[in-house]
Symmetry: C2
Subunit: 341 residues, 2 copies
C-alpha cells in the first residue's frame, strides 16, 4: 500500500470482462459510447486485457441468448481504437460463434481469442484454438462450469486445450459454486500438470469471488478475470476494483492503479448498470446448487406448476450434474419431488 502498485512487476495478468461477461447485467445493451468510456477508463488504470463480445461470446446476439443493443463488431472496433496499451480480447463458444467470427475480430484488431467449452468438452475447442494460433492470435482455453468435474478430469481437459495450442487455460467457475478449498484443488492440479499458465474466472454467487481469486494466485494462477463493479449475470463476477484494492493492500502487485480503477467503477461502469449486483436468493441458490443460470426461469415455472420448492429442484439438478441442453430434466425432477411430498 505504500509504494504505487504500478511500480512492481504484476504478479498476474488481469482480464477485465465488463464488456463481455458484464454485459449480462445490461442485457447486452451497451452503447458504443459506453464501450469507449469503459475501455478508456480501464486502459488508463493500466488493465492489460479487456474482453469485448456479446455476453455469450461472438455471435451470441440471438433470440436464445438475447439480442445485442449494438452490434458487437462495432463495440469491438471502438474498443480497439480506444485502447492505448490494453489488448482487446474476444470470447468464442464453438457452436455459438463460428470460424469466420475469429477472422473478423482478428482483422478488427483483436489480439486475444478466448475459446470456451463446458469443462468436459475441450475437444470441441481444438479446431478454434488451432485457428486462433494460425491467425497469429493469443489463444486462451476456457473450461466452464469447472465445479462439475474433478480436478484430475479438469486437467485432462486442459491438456487437450494445451495440445491444441492454447497459451493459457482457465478454470471457469461459471456457477460461482467453487469455494477456496475446491479452487485450491483445481488450480494446484492444473498448475502442476500443465506447461502453460493457468487462470481463474470467478463468480460471486457464494460471495467468494475475491477470496477465490486470491486463493488461485496463492496456488500459482497467473491470470485472473474480473468485471468492474462486479457486473455480470445474477450475483455477477469478481469485482475488478475490489480485487485490485485487496491485492494492493496485501502487497500483491497488480500493474493497475487502484484509485483510478475505483473511480472507473464508481463513475463510469456503475452508472451504466441497470441494477445493483447482489447475492440474492436466486444467485445464491445457483451457486449453492451448482447449476446453470439458464435453469432459473424453467425451475421457477416447474416449481409453481407442480407445487414444489424451486430450491429443491435446483439442488437436485446440481446433484445429478445436469448440464445445459438437459432442461427437460427439470420437469422430471419436479415431478419426482411432487410424488415424494
Amino acid at each position: 500500500m505504500s509504494a504505487p502498485a504500478t511500480a512492481a512487476k504484476p504478479a498476474f495478468r488481469l482480464t477485465d470482462s465488463t464488456l463481455r461477461d458484464g454485459s449480462h447485467a445490461v442485457a447486452h445493451q451497451y452503447t458504443e459510447q459506453q464501450a469507449i468510456d469503459i475501455v478508456a477508463g480501464l486502459d488508463r488504470a493500466g488493465v492489460p486485457v479487456i474482453e469485448v463480445s456479446h455476453g455469450d461470446g461472438l455471435g451470441g446476439s440471438s433470440f436464445n441468448y438475447g439480442f445485442s443493443g449494438t452490434d458487437e463488431m462495432k463495440l469491438i472496433s471502438r474498443a480497439v481504437e480506444t485502447a492505448k496499451q490494453a489488448k482487446i480480447a474476444c470470447l468464442l463458444l464453438p457452436g455459438i460463434g463460428v470460424a469466420d467470427d475469429l477472422k473478423a475480430v482478428k482483422d478488427a484488431g483483436v489480439q486475444v481469442a478466448r475459446i470456451a467449452t463446458h469443462c468436459t468438452e475441450a475437444d470441441i475447442a481444438e479446431q478454434h484454438i488451432g485457428m486462433a494460433k494460425e491467425l497469429g492470435m493469443e489463444a486462451v482455453g476456457f473450461l466452464m462450469m469447472a465445479h462439475m468435474t474433478s480436478p484430475d478430469e479438469l486437467l485432462r481437459q486442459a491438456l487437450i486445450m494445451q495440445e491444441s495450442g492454447a497459451d493459457v487455460v482457465y478454470c471457469v467457475d461459471s456457477a460461482g459454486a467453487l469455494t477456496t478449498k475446491t479452487v485450491t484443488e483445481r488450480i494446484e492440479t492444473l498448475v502442476g500438470g500443465l506447461d502453460v499458465p493457468v487462470g481463474l474466472h470467478a463468480h460471486e454467487n457464494l460471495s467468494l469471488s475475491v477470496a477465490n481469486s486470491l486463493t488461485a494466485l496463492d496456488h500459482g494462477a497467473l491470470h485472473i478475470d474480473a468485471c468492474t463493479g462486479g457486473a455480470g449475470a445474477g450475483a455477477g463476477n469478481c469485482p475488478t476494483e475490489v480485487f485490485v484494492a485487496v491485492c494492493d493492500r496485501m502487497g500483491v502487485a497488480t500493474g493497475v492503479d487502484t484509485m483510478t480503477m475505483v473511480d472507473v467503477a464508481e463513475e463510469v461502469v456503475r452508472p451504466a448498470m441497470n441494477r445493483p449486483q447482489m447475492v440474492d436468493r436466486a444467485a445464491l441458490i445457483l451457486g449453492y446448487a451448482g447449476v446453470y443460470g439458464s435453469f432459473m426461469l424453467h425451475s421457477e415455472r416447474a416449481a409453481k406448476r407442480y407445487g414444489v420448492s424451486q430450491a429443491q429442484i435446483l439442488i437436485e439438478l446440481g446433484k445429478r450434474g445436469v448440464v445445459g441442453g438437459q432442461e427437460d430434466m427439470i420437469i422430471d425432477v419436479a415431478l419426482e419431488l411432487a410424488a415424494n411430498k
Copy 2:
C-alpha cells in the same frame, strides 16, 4: 450438503446482528412489526443468538448517532417475546450505554451482554463486563477496529476482557479492513492465548466477509457474527444466509436450516432495507484505508474545500492510525496534501 445441516452439532455459534448492526442500513428505523418478523424468521431457521439494539449499542439513539424510529426497549421486548429458541443479545459501548441500560435489558429478558470498546481500550469494558456477570448474563467482549493493532496487542486487550469475566472475546473488523492473512494472525493469536472462546465479526468492505469468517473457523474461532442480507453500514456485514449456505456446502455444520435462512433474507429482511448493500467507492476506500465510517463525510468536505483527493486523505488517516474523536486531523491531513501538491 447431503445430510441436513441441523443434524450435526454446530461447529460454531452464530449471532445474527441484523437488528443491531444491520439497523445502520435503515438509519435505525426498524418498526416493532419488522423486529417481530425478523426474529421469528431467524428463530425458525435455528439461529441461536439474535442481537437487538440501536446500531451503536444501547443508548445510541441520539443526535450524534441517529435517533431510533422505535425505542430500542420496545424492539428488544418484541424480540424476547417472539424468540422460541434463540437467545436475545444486546450491544453496549461504555460511554454511549450506561450501567442502568444493562439492568433494564436483563429485566426485559436479554441473556447475552456484548460489551464493546476500541481494540486498545479494553479496560473501559471491565466494569460493564463485571456487571453483566453479576446480573447473571453471558458477557461477550468486543474489540472493535481490530485491524488497527497488532495480534499480540489484541491478545493483551482480550486478556483484560477475559480477566474481567468475559465468556467470549470477539475480534471485530469494524472497518472491513482485514484480509484472510490478517484474520488468521489475529484469530490464531487469540485462540492460542485465551482460555475463553474467540469470535469474529466481519464486514464486507473488501468483499471478504464470508471468506474471513470461514478463515476464522479454520483457525479455531467458535463464534461468528453475521447480518441477514448483509445488512449494515456501507458495504454491510457478513451476510448470514450466504455464510450458512457456504458452510453447508463445505460440510461445516451450522445448526441453521439453510433454505429457511435464504427465504428469511429474501422475503423478510431485504424488503425492509432501504437500499442494496454494495461495495461502492466509499465502502471500498474505508476498508482499503482502514478508517472509521464517520470520517467519510468530514473527508469529503475537506477534499472539496482544499482541492485534494478524498481517497488520499482517508488513506493517510489510515496510515496514521487516527481514531474516532480525532476528526480535527482530517483538516491537518488535507492541508498537508494540498501543500504537497
